[in-house]
Subunit: 253 residues, 2 copies
């Protein structure tokens, strides 16, 4: 898709900026970096980190996402941190009186993916650990992002909020099927399945499983349904043929 | 929906069981409890926790989700922990050779919600912090649950895996709209908007903004489109009328 307005943007490089506003503990900055990087996000921005920057506590808790810690950009104000963003989300609790649209992380992720498709640059603000974003911070945002939580509890920490946003965004980027079948080589075909059924019935007949002529049809049908529903792979059928063969052996075989 | 087979199940009570298999640190059990409770899950089961149970490290990191720590059930084996489950998910990395279907957390959440609707009891296994679930653990599961992550990194910890599963399940339970408009009282109607436009145009005419007769139509149209696109609420229009009125004042007014 061509960027709007003829801008030449290297869109492969665009991703949501994760902006930690006045974060308190270096450890939590590291955890947020780790959360982001699990889902491919690398644009970490810090606004006035309480304990300065760099912070020696950030690296160890980043668990390998050191790249993000090294490349994090630091700003004095939220205004500077969002300067190149075209749309800003403020992560906070839902407030009925907020004169902003409110979206879930899933909706925000869908919106951000669409924005990035046309060369726009979204950013997401996360507030300090205890107090959260102020009204002045939120006034700089276009949209409020609220994670729906258990109304009786609701105790998401900073890294948890970051991971849920990052995870949702990654769902739009990752080319991962929701479902993979158990047998990539394919299920057994019906010829294999019928072969197993007939083999089993032959052995069971020999062993006297089908005692009453009248009930034999019902018993066979029940067995065939059980085997049919099991969704065996070809290899499963071969394994079970061996089992049946072994169970069918008599001393004379 | 009636439960299948005429079972009388109090379905309000059914929720996915979160089963931590041989968890190592009490702190991580607490974090997992906190992650669950944020999304309304309370059925925490522990299989052979390394440091025994109760563990004094679990409570402090549960951050208020103490109920889950107090009510957690403890088992010696995975078999016992899943005994009352009808479908078990094993959380692990995607392995092409695994003879089980593989699903994402989102797909698993949708499946579990459907199962619970008909009175079935799903459970989700999470392995020990370092080593993850063994093949013997996974053999007890029906389905593998894999979180799609950054292929270059992929360092989800136990509590992060638990929170993503819990979050996805909650999306099926929580009655939360994906989007709330900025103005619950409604946008300004067109009469209010046209009133603002005409007021602004009147003041601008007085101030000499429309210099050229020829361009006046274009200028007016541009302004009307700007105001139209802004999606003002009624209160916004009243505020802006005040602004325009104030800007229009001359010494003689």
């Amino acid at each position: 898709m061509a960027p709007r307005g003829g801008r030449l943007t290297d869109m492969a490089d665009i991703q949501p900026a994760v902006i930690l506003v006045r974060p308190q503990l270096g450890q939590n900055i590291g955890k947020a970096a780790r959360a982001m990087y699990n889902f491919g996000l690398t644009d970490l921005r810090l606004v006035a980190p309480r304990d300065g920057w760099p912070n020696p506590d950030a690296g160890p808790s980043a668990a390998g996402a050191l790249l993000l810690i090294d490349q994090a950009t630091v700003y004095e104000t939220v205004e500077e941190a969002v300067a190149n963003c075209t749309h800003v989300y403020a992560t906070t609790v839902r407030d009925r009186d907020m004169p902003k649209p409110v979206v879930t992380p899933r909706e925000a992720a869908a919106q951000m993916a669409s924005m990035i498709d046309v060369g726009e640059r979204p950013g997401v603000l996360f507030g300090p650990e205890r107090s959260g974003l102020t009204n002045d911070d939120i006034a700089l945002a276009d949209t409020v992002l609220t994670v729906p939580v258990n109304p009786d509890y609701g105790s998401l920490n900073l890294a948890q909020a970051v991971i849920l946003m990052s995870y949702e965004f990654f769902q739009h980027k990752a080319d991962v099927p929701a479902y993979l079948p158990a047998h990539p080589e394919g299920l057994a075909d019906k010829e294999e399945l019928v072969g197993l059924m007939e083999h089993l019935e032959q052995v069971l007949t020999k062993k006297g499983y089908f005692r009453s002529e009248g009930r034999q049809g019902t018993q066979r049908l029940a067995l065939r349904n059980i085997l049919q529903n099991a969704e065996f792979a070809s290899q499963d059928v071969r394994t079970l043929r061996g089992v049946v063969k072994s169970l069918g052996r008599t001393r004379e075989d």
